[in-house]
């Protein structure tokens, strides 16, 4: 991985600050920026609607972007584009035909995007079971096995924690769920940008992700749906593109994944997301993973040198992504974040990270953690600056 060259692709890295907040959103490389610009300059028409040449070209580019994401996920099902991971999960939670007494099993590790859509089903009589996890984010698979029963319609779990970096054994969880006849949804927002994902091998039915966290444009996300459950989810919205014919007494709905993208979509964003996938694949997901492990190890080892700092997440680097959450004794996480920003020009995130059950119930940190989230464009030298700045301010 030629990191010097890679960093030249990210204009924002020339702005004089260190960006350790890729868990919130990733920076955008020039090929993605150019793909979006190119669409607006040369193809700026709607998709799937016009017979004219620009519309055909835009449609082809937009459809190819879907195919790129499907290949990136190694899935044999369908990919639909959404505005983010949250929307992708809501499409599933709203689209299933729920009956009173149905059950959803999820965990305390979840981001709100994979918790609130399920909790909102409780008034319909859906039993939402939230399993505790350990402080390092481990989920007891025996307890999960016990919790999943014949009434369980969905098991919804995060692939990698946005707070702890913990990589969840989603393949094992899928197997448990499948044996009991439950559908499996994986929130891949923090995994797809960092790990080589193979949704067919994972055995999941739905895989949701955030395009903007994997170098794609803001306002992009995706939902992968396996062929076997495609008919079990109805679209959350209907409108333009949803029907091939409408009469007073009969609607003929569009067949295929396009029905989940009613209305004119975020075409530029979708094409940009396709460019982001191309970019990540050119670097190689294994290379990205290798670099992030090296960075995380270096950062964690340095943080361990402070006697007043608690680091969260698994000790085993193979079980974590480049997310490193920590707290400093006697210093609120928000203060740590603002000090790093103001004194060192270092962007990290602080707080509950939209994972209140985890930070409050499991970590017992009502105001959350300070979180450095690393990506392939970060360097060991940046980690040194981070550590030196932290030394100066705590």
């Amino acid at each position: 991985m030629n990191q010097e060259q890679i960093r030249k692709d990210f204009p924002q890295l020339n702005q004089g600050f260190i960006y350790f907040d890729s868990g919130s959103t990733a920076l955008k490389p020039l090929p993605v920026i150019r793909a979006v610009e190119e669409y607006y300059k040369t193809l700026s028409t709607s998709v799937g609607r016009g017979l004219h040449r620009p519309s055909n070209l835009a449609t082809k580019a937009y459809e190819e972007a879907h195919e790129k994401v499907r290949r990136f996920l190694n899935g044999s099902g369908d990919v639909i584009f959404t505005k983010n991971c949250t929307e992708a999960i809501n499409i599933v939670s709203h689209g299933i035909d729920w009956k009173e007494g149905d059950k959803v099993v999820t965990t305390c590790l979840e981001h709100n995007s994979n918790l609130l859509p399920w909790l909102a089903l409780r008034p319909k009589g859906v039993n939402v079971v939230i399993l505790e996890c350990s402080k390092d984010g481990s989920i007891d698979l025996k307890k999960l096995d016990d919790a999943v029963d014949e009434k369980t319609k969905v098991v919804a779990v995060i692939h990698a924690s946005n707070v702890l970096g913990t990589i969840v054994p989603v393949e094992d969880i899928s197997e448990i769920a499948r044996k009991k006849g439950a559908m499996v949804l994986i929130d891949g927002a923090q995994a797809a940008p960092h790990l080589k994902v193979n949704v067919d091998a994972l055995g999941c039915d739905f895989y949701a992700g955030s395009g903007h966290k994997m170098c794609g444009p803001s306002g992009t996300g995706f939902l992968y749906i396996s062929k076997k459950v495609f008919d079990r989810v109805k679209p959350m919205m209907l409108g333009g593109g949803s029907a091939t014919d409408v009469q007073l007494d009969k609607i003929t709905f569009t067949e295929g994944p396009g029905i989940f993208e009613a209305g004119t979509p975020n075409i530029a964003g979708g094409i940009g997301l396709g460019a982001a996938v191309d970019y990540l694949e050119r670097i190689g997901m294994n290379e990205i993973r290798k670099h992030e492990i090296e960075l995380s190890k270096y950062l964690i080892d340095k943080l361990k040198g402070f006697d007043n700092t608690e680091i969260y997440g698994p000790d085993d680097l193979a079980k974590r992504t480049g997310v490193v959450s920590f707290n400093v004794d006697g210093m609120p996480a928000h203060r740590v974040a603002i000090l790093l920003d103001e004194i060192g020009g270092i962007a990290i995130r602080s707080g509950n990270h939209c994972a209140f059950l985890l930070t409050h119930r499991i970590l017992d940190q009502p105001f959350g953690t300070a979180r450095a989230s690393l990506y392939f464009y970060n360097t060991l030298a940046e980690v040194d600056t981070f550590i030196n700045t932290l030394k100066d301010v705590i």
Binding site: P332, H334, R335, I338, L339, E342, I343, G351, N352, H360, P366, F367, D392, V393
Partner: protein, 95 residues
């Protein structure tokens, strides 16, 4: 929301509420130029060249030389009190 305290224009944002406590972030529209040592008449817990932490009975405030501030763990629904705290700091600072 934006606010004026004397001539100091800033943006005060409530950033979180938890367990009956709130955090506010004050971001100045134009950085201040007064030295932090002017704050010595207040209860300064931590003093560094570019920032200090001031203790109030109901909260701590991290203050930067730029005028940026973090009001920490003030009781819930205290925006008015947060602005009072800012005014107290500014009065001492800008003397």
């Amino acid at each position: 929301m934006s606010s004026d305290t004397a001539e100091f224009k800033y943006r005060l944002t409530k950033i979180c509420v938890r367990a009956g406590k709130e955090y506010y972030h004050l971001f100045p529209e134009v950085s201040l130029v007064f030295p932090l040592k002017n704050l010595n008449e207040l209860d300064v817990k931590i003093s560094r060249p570019k920032f200090c932490v001031i203790a109030f009975p109901d909260c701590d405030v991290t203050v930067f030389s730029s005028g940026r501030m973090l009001i920490e763990e003030i009781p819930e629904n205290s925006e008015k009190r947060a602005r009072e705290v800012v005014d107290i700091i500014l009065s001492a600072w800008c003397k």
